[in-house]
């Protein structure tokens, strides 16, 4: 297994290089970093502009692109990152913060999704074709059909405006609709943090629960119809053991790998939710950086996202090999 991991990590390097190069090209073409810099720093001298071009590797021409990419790469790997174009800030602290926030949001959302989703999926699959099954399925589909920005906007409207109007006394009900902490708050406060996470996590969970419900239902149904489950029943073991030891054990397999890959995607994928709730995660970071055309912020962001995807895909494969003895990696 170690050999497998090493080999995958070795493959990850050229993949990263190619992908980051493509991203570099796409962002340069799409956002015109130099013009964006000038826009944000209207009084910048030509010397400053040149310095910006040099530090970020933004040379012109086809060969300039290639040279520029390696210039950027050199700076990135050596830790000497250029600062953001707006406000001349260090990029890493904000990025690190954003990562932490996104991890909490994505993690909680995925957790709720997996636990509730698998629960409902199991309930549905145990009585296929029944009213229970139909209602679970339909509810899941309804939830899936509510795009995140719709649920986010509606939740925001309800909780920013109406709960205060209708239930002025129930303070606990007034979930905050923006940020990680109330403005001006310092230090760590679990309750406040959770309160601020409630609404965004709900939005994520709506999609998350629905997806895991459907996948678990499908996976379990597949297993319940399999030959080895028939054998298990023919052995006369208790129905509960059949369910847990045989059915669920096998049905969880694809769910685990799905969860790993999914989480990797979740990382930068909550842009809409974060923007609407003004939650300072990776998604919001991207949107701001993107509308500013902030090259020094965008490139590291992209690298993190790609690394996350590669890492979690690797994790997915490893977990699959761990759980399924038929898969031997080498």
């Amino acid at each position: 297994m170690l050999r497998f991991v090493v080999r995958r990590l070795m493959w990850a390097v050229p993949t990263l290089l190619v992908v980051t190069f493509l991203v570099y090209v796409a962002i340069r073409i799409g956002t015109d970093p130099v013009a964006s810099y000038v826009r944000s720093n209207a009084r910048a001298s030509q010397a400053k502009i040149d310095e910006y071009i040099e530090r970020n590797g933004l040379y012109e021409g086809v060969d300039g692109y290639i040279r520029g990419y390696f210039r950027w790469l050199g700076g990135f790997l050596s830790g000497d990152w250029p600062r953001s174009i707006k406000g001349n800030q260090e990029v890493w602290p904000d990025l690190k913060n954003a990562m932490g926030n996104s991890l909490r949001l994505a993690g909680l959302g995925a957790l709720v999704g997996i636990v509730l989703g698998c629960g409902f999926g199991v309930l549905a699959a145990l009585k296929p074709g029944s009213i229970r099954d139909g209602s679970v399925n339909t509810t899941a589909l309804v939830m899936l059909s509510i795009p995140p920005f719709v649920s986010a906007v509606i939740l925001q409207m309800v909780f920013a405006v109406y709960t205060r109007q209708w239930f002025p006394g129930a303070r606990w009900l007034h979930f905050p609709t923006s940020g990680v902490y109330p403005p001006g708050h310092r230090g760590f406060d679990l309750i406040e943090m959770l309160r601020h996470l409630t609404l965004p996590v709900t939005v994520v969970a709506i999609q998350s629960v629905a997806v895991y419900t459907r996948y678990m239902r499908a996976s379990l149904l597949d297993v319940l119809n399999s030959d080895y489950l028939r054998t298990a029943r023919a052995k006369g073991i208790s129905e509960r053991r059949v369910l847990v030891h045989h059915a669920l054990r096998n049905a969880m397999l694809p769910i685990v790998t799905l969860a790993a890959i999914d989480f990797g995607l979740l990382f930068g994928g909550l842009i809409i939710t974060e923007r609407i709730f003004e939650y300072p995660g990776l998604g919001n970071f991207f949107l701001t950086a993107y509308s500013n055309g902030d090259f020094p912020q965008l490139m590291p962001w992209m690298v993190i996202v790609v690394i996350a995807v590669i890492l979690f895909n690797l994790l997915a494969d490893l977990s699959y090999a761990f759980l399924d003895p038929r898969i031997r990696l080498d």
């Binding site: 799409g30 956002t31 339909t138 795009p147 719709v150 499908a218 319940l224 994928g269």
Partner: protein, 333 residues
């Protein structure tokens, strides 16, 4: 969870496991696969109900000049002398209220839905056509073409949907020699092509999967033995057998396109057809400004329409998938 309903999430090859239809091969052999699929679809009640609702909705929207009460850009007449007709809450004169310049939201919603449906359908159809062609070719040929295709789609789909969408949008808009083909960045044509550019990858993977699965079956071997070329095998044998998954992919592509258009518009990156037209996405997008101002109708009705549309199409897709599930065509038990 990627936030948008990209077709890969609702993977048409996901098993649905309808146990009650499995009578161990003892059922009627006289119905053709198409008839059996239709019968199964009919028995899927949510799908049938959704199909009816969708049909009514589409008809309603298509008959726009009749069903709408005002024009798209027409402010309603003043209700009371001297009072402005901006941001009126729902009432008899304007069932869904009015917007910032006094236009009837109900009528605008009808026209907007029509536009968005057109965008969604066009983008999906283009995506399916391209995706089927490329996916089938990659599946039947294999080799480096297949490898490259898989790699490229993998990379694209690895990025968060909105990120890739925005970056591609900008890139597409910056390439000068493409402009005569794709149109302005804010035109409807551009949006359709952009969405199609994204949709084809999911479809291609589905079709490729189907081709790979069917490629090894005996009837293909038989066709080859008779000297059929790759192209003939694909067109006359493999594609007709894949109609089910392709239809399902088409359905989910339509939803994905409609929601993607709304998302783009939400952030201001969508189509801007000028004052004489609007899209559902634009109407949903304008809800952003109205959240904190208490103009709840500006948020509720566009969002409800979007969800209704997405829901009915998703239900139909589900029903189609159950009806054409290859697992249900098992042989004798």
């Amino acid at each position: 969870m990627t936030e948008l309903l990209s077709p890969t999430l609702l993977d048409p090859s996901e098993p649905s496991g309808d146990v009650t239809a499995d009578a161990q091969g003892l059922t009627a052999r006289s119905l053709s696969p198409r008839q059996m699929a239709w019968r199964r679809f009919r028995s899927h009640r949510p799908a049938m109900i959704s199909a009816v609702i969708l049909l009514l909705l589409v008809l309603f929207v298509l008959l726009a000049p009749l069903t709408a009460r005002y024009g798209v850009n027409e402010p309603i007449f003043r209700t009371e002398a001297g009072r402005s007709n901006r941001y009126l809450s729902p009432r008899a004169e304007a069932w869904f209220g009015t917007d910032d310049i006094g236009r009837d939201l109900y009528s605008r919603l009808i026209y907007g839905t029509r536009v968005s449906l057109a965008i969604g359908l066009s983008a999906a159809v283009i995506a399916v056509v391209i995706g089927t062609a490329i996916g089938a070719w990659a599946g039947i040929r294999g080799g480096w073409f297949d490898d490259v295709l898989m790699r490229v789609t993998d990379v694209f789909l690895a990025f968060p949907f909105l990120v890739a969408l925005l970056v591609t949008r900008n890139m597409l808009g910056e390439i000068p020699w493409l402009e005569p083909i794709v149109g302005e960045r804010t035109s409807i044509r551009f949006v359709i092509l952009l969405l199609a550019l994204f949709g084809w990858m999911g479809v291609a993977r589905v079709v490729r999967g189907q081709v790979l699965a069917l490629k090894e079956r005996e009837f293909v071997e038989a066709a080859r033995a008779l000297g059929a070329s790759n192209r003939r095998i694909v067109v006359r044998h493999l594609l007709p057998n894949s109609i089910g998954p392709i239809l399902v992919a088409l359905t989910f592509s339509v939803v994905a396109a409609i929601i993607a258009e709304s998302t783009l518009s939400f952030f201001g990156f969508g189509p801007q057809p000028g004052a004489d037209a609007t899209s559902l996405g634009l109407l949903v997008g304008s809800s952003k400004e109205n959240v904190l101002t208490g103009n709840w109708w500006m948020v509720l009705f566009p969002c409800a329409t979007l969800v209704l549309l997405a829901l009915t199409i998703n239900m139909i897709g589900d029903g189609l998938r159950d009806a054409t599930d290859p697992k249900l065509q098992r042989g004798n038990g």
